[in-house]
């Protein structure tokens, strides 16, 4: 993809809380808000930050599996429930499994870059506590290839897929070495989430997080090479923000200093009917990031804020390698040394990431972009990363399936 000829900005971000086990207000047997609530809650919070919702030209909604989780299709038609002024405007739903959010961002950017719209409302949502985890695993399994993979897959299909990746890494780099890195990742994720009142692990008070992270996997109860702490949880939530042209920002009355600029992006999609060639490498992520680096002329050394798609701890480590921050096989050591902690070498997943903040699958990519807006405009509260002038860029990766549908985005504060 070519770099847009005109600048595209993102602004007015909002995340709902990530609701699920771990949150004090969550009770599996009590009624909970549904899809409509989250879409409206996130959407209205965005609208509250602009002068007039009439100025929104179109809406993009990213979602993975509402058709199964909530028995609801036609999600684009829920956007007008946010505000009457959105009625009869063009809205589109996009889907790319857990990478839906990334595709939502891409679609919004395309629309602004093509000058079809000046102001796009982008929403990402998933409400998945409607089913017990054992059935949710089936629904999320749709991110793999149903026909060729589901029958022989694990009861917990995606944990099974990433368990295979972890197993391959144990074999190649050693069990202890990898597990320590994964446990360190878990520890960091929860510690960051404890600073974020909207995070699913915000209420987590466990004393020894590293020890929990080191819990040996139990194949009888779960998958072969992961424990439950290695996995992001089941979450309900939504995120929303605005993508706009320069004119668009003026129209909605948002000052540039409150916006960030899209400086590069890349999307790579791999064949879902195939399994990864090398389980120890995230090759599609690597491709998507390369494209974003090329479009922006930047590299890892320019990035100060990093948002990785850590649906599993092992995924976080492999993404760290795929994005070029460390060499192949070195992510575990890097994380163990604390170099991904807040305000260390590369602040990674400052609000908790998928493991700490939560993972409302189809909405996660949008959530990451919202966090990039907050970080770069220095509105991230207790999770704020110190933005240094030599590393003013944020990079985010949104991934669907087993490294199949990946979008990378690079932002900087608008000037």
């Amino acid at each position: 993809m070519r770099k847009p000829r005109k600048k595209v900005y993102a602004t007015c971000g909002c995340n709902t809380i990530s609701l699920g086990t771990g949150r004090k207000e969550f009770h599996p047997k009590k009624p909970r808000p549904g899809l409509e609530y989250y879409i409206q809650d996130a959407g209205k919070s965005v609208i509250a930050q602009i002068n007039d919702p009439e100025n929104i030209d179109e809406g993009i909604i990213a979602n993975f599996m509402a058709a199964r989780f909530n028995k609801q299709g036609n999600l684009a038609a829920l956007i007008p429930t946010i505000h009457p002024s959105l009625e009869y405007k063009p809205h589109t739903r996009v889907e790319g499994a857990c990478g839906s959010g990334g595709l939502g961002l891409l679609t919004s950017i395309k629309s602004v870059a093509s000058e079809i719209s000046d102001v796009v409302l982008t929403i990402g949502v998933e409400v998945q506590n409607t089913y017990k985890a054992i059935y949710g695993a089936d629904i999320l399994g749709g991110a793999g290839h149903y026909l060729s993979q589901r029958k022989n897959g694990h009861a917990y299909f995606f944990p099974g897929q990433f368990s295979d990746r972890a197993g391959a890494c144990y074999e190649k780099f050693g069990y202890e070495y990898m597990r320590k890195g994964m446990a360190s990742w878990y520890k960091q994720a929860v510690e960051n989430a404890r600073r974020n009142p909207k995070a699913q692990e915000y209420h987590n008070t466990a004393e020894d997080l590293f020890a929990l992270g080191m819990t040996p996997p139990n194949p009888k109860a779960f998958v072969d090479h992961l424990n439950v702490y290695d996995c992001s949880k089941v979450s309900d939530g939504a995120s929303a923000l605005i993508f706009a042209s320069e004119d668009g920002l003026k129209k909605i009355g948002v000052d540039k200093k409150d916006a960030i600029e899209v400086v590069g992006f890349g999307t790579a999609v791999a064949d879902v009917t195939k399994l990864p060639e090398d389980l120890t490498i995230m090759s599609t992520t690597k491709k998507a990031v390369q494209k974003a680096y090329e479009m922006s002329g930047l590299g890892p050394e320019d990035i100060g804020v990093l948002e990785l798609h850590d649906c599993f701890t092992i995924g976080g480590l492999l993404a760290l390698e795929a994005t070029g921050f460390v060499k192949y096989g070195e992510a575990s050591a890097y994380v163990q040394e604390g170099k991904t902690n807040l305000n260390s070498e590369i602040s990674t997943n400052a609000t908790g990431g998928l493991i700490g903040f939560g993972h409302y699958t189809g909405g996660t990519g949008v959530r990451q972009a919202v966090d990039c807006v907050h970080q770069l405009t220095e509105k991230a509260g207790d999770c704020q990363v110190k933005i240094n002038t030599d590393k003013p860029y944020a990079l985010m990766i949104s991934m669907g399936g087993n490294d199949r549908t990946v979008t990378a985005m690079i932002f900087k504060r608008a000037d």
Binding site: K132, I134, Y135, A137, D138, G141, Y146, R150, K151, H154, A155, K220, A221
Partner: protein, 446 residues
């Protein structure tokens, strides 16, 4: 006849009851799995569920469906392997309901005892009444083949009495599940002197397949579990009566329930546990054991008064707790029955229960509720520290709790001395696995 042959035709008597339905559930799940093994292709499996209460059998159906689904959800990893050759079953959404269907396909439900005639194994889980049990066992022995074996779920009647009176020549064993059988990991196994070896082997294998922890108890009324529970409860009642002089009987019951839960770090207070079991069931255990044990009074007039007033506790079909010694709101104690007035005295933290809490006094340092310690890897150290602090306290609560701990230990020790249990370890195992205590009664804390 080997284990798998016996498992092909099983009957459960009293199948709609609390224990019977749980046993039926575990067997149905096991038989559904056996039926799907390649080596058992074409083998017919039958689980006959018999109960005199036709209406309750309706409820049994609902219970089994919900619980089999839960078992399917918890064992999906195993089930996916079991159904690996069924190409039509792809998702967990397909596999779990298929397992439930397979379990139902082996089940036959009726009020007619004749259904059991082809059974190789009969589980008896009718109410705790010796004469009824003997009568049924005799009828079954006439109906079934002479090599049919009988597993009784009695929690208190000596097995040799049932064997002799029903003339079973040792084809009976005590297989005492704990309530609810699907959750509780413990099964007490009680052989009488005449119990045939094959029955012991069958029972051990069954326990293994159902993933139950087995403790062998000797054939003395009450065995280990109820031997402890009965005396533990009677002690609490006697203490409550003593406290009644100063605090009224509801006050005494409140205090004993609270200290037995909190300061003994147990999952429930003792009166809540009696309510959970059922006041009438508890009284029945008390009468039964009392009739077989000499030199010890194990009867309690308060129980009879409660039962006469039809204040019985126990659970509703949906599992919720009925009122007994205590009144329950959302499953939590919210009042105490005042037997003289025939009504519940509602807890009032700003009034009478608040006053009693002050009398009980502060909890010692290091106190954690049972739930907090349940999964704590350092629970033994924490308990040790807590009980040390408890001993140093001079409050009413601490004194009562220490006396209660001491009594519980004595009961445990007596079960070993009187050869009900083979070891202190067995007593502790029963309380840990059957009652979910965090520590055994025979311990060094006291």
């Amino acid at each position: 006849m080997n284990f798998d042959q016996r498992l092909q035709n099983v009957s459960v008597l009293g199948a709609a009851g609390k224990m019977g339905s749980g046993i039926a559930l575990l067997l149905a799940a096991e038989m559904a799995k056996a039926k799907n093994l390649p080596e058992n292709e074409g083998t017919k499996y039958r689980l006959n569920l018999i109960d005199v209460n036709d209406d309750a059998l309706d409820g049994l159906w609902v219970y089994l469906k919900a619980q089999l689904t839960k078992i399917g959800e918890k064992t999906t990893i195993i089930l996916r392997n079991l159904y690996k050759d069924r190409e039509d079953l792809v998702e967990n959404f397909d596999i779990i309901p298929q397992f439930v269907d397979d379990a139902f396909s082996v089940i036959r439900v009726n009020t007619d005892l004749n259904m059991a005639k082809d059974s190789k194994v009969v589980f008896e889980a009718v109410i705790e009444n010796k004469d009824l049990k003997v009568d049924l066992l005799k009828k079954l022995d006439n109906l079934c083949a002479k090599d049919t074996i009988y597993l009784t779920n009695t929690s208190s009647i000596p097995i040799h009495i049932l064997n002799e009176e029903a003339n079973l020549d040792g084809r009976i064993i005590g297989f005492h599940f704990y309530n609810p059988p699907v959750v509780q990991r413990l099964a007490e196994l009680i052989s009488c002197e005449k119990t045939i070896p094959e029955l012991k082997e069958f029972s051990s294998e069954l326990a293994k397949r159902l993933r139950k922890v087995i403790v062998s108890a000797n054939d003395i009324a009450g065995f280990i579990g109820n031997g402890h529970f009965l005396r533990d409860g009677l002690f609490a009642i006697s203490e409550a009566k003593k406290l009644a002089k100063d605090f009224s009987l509801p006050g005494g019951i409140y205090i004993m329930d609270k200290i037995s839960r909190d300061l003994l770090v147990r999952p429930m207070g003792i009166f809540q546990l009696i309510d959970y079991v059922g006041v009438d069931v508890y009284q029945c255990i008390s009468d039964t054991v009392d009739s077989y044990i000499e030199g010890e009074n194990l009867k309690e007039e308060l129980l009879k008064r409660m039962v006469d007033k039809k204040v019985l506790g126990g659970q509703r079909a949906d599992g919720s707790q009925k009122d007994g010694f205590l009144k329950y709101e959302k499953g939590r104690p919210a009042g105490v029955y005042d037997i003289d007035k025939g009504e519940y005295k509602i807890f009032d933290p700003d009034g009478w229960t608040g006053e009693l809490d002050k009398k009980i006094g502060d909890y010692p340092q290091g106190f954690y509720p049972w739930r907090k310690l349940l999964m704590d890897p350092k629970k033994n150290e924490k308990l040790s520290e807590f009980f040390k602090n408890l001993k140093a306290k001079d409050t009413l609560g601490a004194k009562l709790a220490l006396a209660y701990l001491r009594n519980s230990k004595q009961i445990g020790q007596r079960l070993v001395d009187s050869k009900v249990a083979n070891s202190a370890d067995d007593v502790n195992k029963v309380l840990l696995n059957g009652f979910y205590h965090l520590y055994g009664p025979i311990n060094n804390y006291i």
